[in-house]
């Protein structure tokens, strides 16, 4: 026992690893009728390119932690691959999921949300973005996707609610399943990060956005940084603290800064944006 304690005391880094391993349950459940094989390689931010090539870059923007892969085989012809992308937080996982989601997918009640296509089933489950796929296309393969996904959802056992500020978007006029989370470089600016967005009025161009910044002071400084190089004639501030900015890259943006919350609308130059901005402000006030 003494030897073991001495060993553990002298191996602090491994202790961190052991602790991490202990807090993480076995990721892949055994499923009756399927032979489970877990890949030995676990992909990290340093080698994710090895498995998904250039697509890895976007995952890294969303604080990707690691990727575990397993295969479930039922028959010689039917193998289903499961990829568990773990992100730092549920918001990050949602962000990556939202970057790959189309509003017209066939959505299913799985995890926070999932969708199924021929040979593919993807779903969001807490900090996990789960991708399940097979090259087979017959009915047993599709059924296999769903049964494995259901077992995995139960096994991971994560909270199913939407993360972050998604609930704060007004429902009136909102296009279903268009909410996104942009972790970094929102609107192409390095100082805007952590933006939630949603599309409105049957137009992918009309978007509402919300950014929660660290503090009111940090938010003011960020806005100053944004406005400083813009032509003065393109900036107006109206009653109620509304800014209307003609952004040279992103068109007209109307926004309000309320303490540490920046919310706004882009993609419309008429009164549509003003109306949506008002509704967004009201919705945010209710949600806080």
């Amino acid at each position: 026992m003494t030897k073991l304690l001495a060993f553990l005391a002298g191996m602090s880094l491994v202790l961190v690893s052991v602790s991490s391993a202990q807090s993480t349950p076995p990721l892949f459940p055994q499923i009756s009728g399927w032979k489970l094989t877990v890949d030995e390689i676990v992909y990290t931010p340093n080698n994710l390119w090895d498995v998904i090539d250039g697509a890895a870059d976007l995952f890294l923007e969303y604080d990707f932690v690691d990727l575990h892969i397993a295969r479930y085989q039922q028959t010689a012809d039917l193998e289903i691959k499961v990829e568990l992308y773990r992100h730092k937080s549920a918001v990050d996982a949602f962000g990556m999921y939202s970057q790959e989601r189309y509003p017209d997918y066939h959505f299913i009640d799985l995890g926070t949300q999932g969708y199924v296509e021929k040979g593919v089933l993807n779903f969001l489950c807490g900090e996990y973005y789960v991708k399940i796929s097979t090259v087979q296309s017959e009915k047993p393969a599709q059924e296999g996707l769903i049964s494995i996904a259901a077992a995995l959802e139960k096994h991971l056992n994560r909270v199913k609610s939407w993360p972050g500020l998604i609930a704060a978007f007004p429902s009136h006029g909102k296009q279903a399943n268009t909410e996104q989370y942009v972790a970094k470089n929102f609107l192409g600016y390095s100082f805007f990060s952590g933006a939630f967005t949603a599309s409105y009025n049957d137009s992918s161009a009309l978007k509402a956005f919300i950014i929660s910044m660290e503090s009111a002071d940090a938010a003011r400084k960020t806005i100053d940084t944004y406005l400083a190089p813009l032509p003065k004639e393109g900036i107006s501030k109206t009653e109620g603290g509304r800014f209307r900015v003609r952004d040279p890259h992103n068109g007209v943006i109307t926004f309000v800064l309320k303490l540490n919350i920046l919310y706004g609308v882009l993609g419309a130059e008429d009164t549509t944006s003003e109306t949506l901005l008002t509704e967004l402000g009201q919705s945010l006030a209710k949600s806080q």
Binding site: V16, V51, D53, V135
Partner: protein, 402 residues
């Protein structure tokens, strides 16, 4: 980038209207659109892409990380010509976004490359399987064309090739030839970010691929071999497009020390056999920085120093070069033990490391009776220290690890 720089770039973007860039043809002997910097009027450095007849500015745009059409528009206005995407990026959103922007531009004002991944792969072996058919590949490619709103792409790559066997997989060779014959792809190639020298050699041997999109960066342990392969490809008339020039963006595994991206980009482009590079631009600052390299490849002393510093930073993990193995008097399987080290500290899977060490029959601290370690690591690892550290796992009761 400071406020002045952003102001300058905003101004340049506004001035650099796309119309001004469309006066000439993108190909052949005539000047390429975008070869003239819209603001400074400094001429862009251009190079020929193998035997394709395409001449490109040395910096293009890898769009994989950009979800903002305004960035692509700004890049066009700043004179970028080559845009690189893939069928799989964002499940198609990336190609759609680019297509929406490019539909407003003349077809000969840009060069568009996309990549299609074979459907059925053995990721571990890097080989292709029977499900990677001609039809599946071409169906995916047709989907890409629809998303891009284009009748053809300038370059179609087979995506993510890492072995000679995959590079010469008959169905893929047939598929890209069919795509070219149909006019839907003007030129064909493949992309690789592993075993690049082997894949580049296979491209030469194929007699079919015209372009290779390859990882090239200053941190590659095998950079010399990559460079030699690129030289052979260039001699054979194959165009080389460099990616991953930023080497992951950080010097350290913990991602706390950012790489000097401009220096890293310039480093790769010093090799004139590299036609162009496609750094990712995630914001207007990155874009301005990368565009500036199009007019000036000279490396400053600071840039040289930053890369030298970066090269001296050894990563945590063994690259498996095996140079150390012959020098170990005990004949230890050092790369395998280093893999166990990676499992422990990188993957946080000590039980996996223990399993590997036990299968190798490694004893606790097997180097203890060696006075001086002669197994010198090319990356500068202290081999003996790491072996002593990780080998202690072999005697830990398994229940403490899982």
């Amino acid at each position: 980038m400071n406020g002045y720089d952003r102001r300058h770039f905003l101004k340049s973007s506004l001035l650099g209207t796309s119309g001004a860039l469309l006066a000439t043809s993108a190909f052949g002997q005539t000047p390429t659109p975008g070869t003239q910097n819209p603001v400074s009027q400094k001429k862009f450095i251009t190079r020929k892409l193998g035997k394709t007849g395409i001449e490109l500015p040395i910096v293009g745009f890898g769009v994989m990380r950009a979800d903002n059409p305004a960035l692509v528009k700004a890049a066009l206005e700043a004179g970028i010509v080559l845009f690189d995407t893939a069928h799989g990026y964002q499940r198609g959103h990336n190609e759609e976004m680019i297509g929406e922007v490019l539909k407003d531009h003349k077809r000969d004002s840009f060069v568009l490359a996309t990549k299609v991944q074979p459907e059925d792969r053995d990721d571990k072996a890097g080989t292709l399987k029977s499900g990677s058919t001609v039809k599946a590949f071409l169906d995916r490619f047709d989907t890409s064309l629809k998303r891009l709103k284009l009748d053809y792409v300038d370059i179609l790559y087979v995506h993510g090739i890492s072995t000679r066997e995959a590079a010469l997989f008959p169905a893929m060779l047939e598929a890209v030839q069919e795509a070219k014959k149909s006019g839907k792809a003007k030129h064909v190639g493949m992309s690789t970010h592993m075993n690049e020298p082997e894949v580049i050699q296979a491209a030469i041997d194929s007699g079919i691929y015209e372009v290779v999109l390859a990882s090239v960066n200053f941190k590659q342990d095998h950079y010399v071999r990559v460079k030699e392969a690129i030289a052979k490809a260039a001699k054979a008339g194959i165009g080389i497009v460099a990616m991953k020039t930023m080497a992951g963006g950080f010097y350290d595994k913990e991602r706390t020390k950012p790489i000097n991206c401009k220096a890293a980009l310039k480093f790769v482009l010093q090799d004139e056999n590299v036609t162009t590079a496609i750094p990712g631009n995630t914001n207007f600052d990155h874009l301005a920085l990368n565009v500036s390299v199009n007019t000036d490849l000279t490396m400053t002393d600071d840039e040289k120093a930053s890369l030298a510093l970066g090269k001296s930073e050894s990563g945590l993990y063994c690259q498996g070069c095996e140079h150390c193995v012959p020098n170990c008097p005990r004949g230890l399987p050092i790369p395998d033990i280093m893999r166990a080290y990676m499992y422990t500290y990188g993957y946080k899977q000590p039980e996996m490391a223990q399993s590997l060490l036990r299968s190798l029959e490694v004893q606790e601290n097997p180097c203890s009776d060696c006075g001086h370690c002669t197994a010198v690591c090319t990356k500068g690892f202290n081999v003996a220290e790491k072996i002593a550290d990780v080998s202690r796992l072999v005697n830990i009761p398994a229940e403490f690890l899982s």
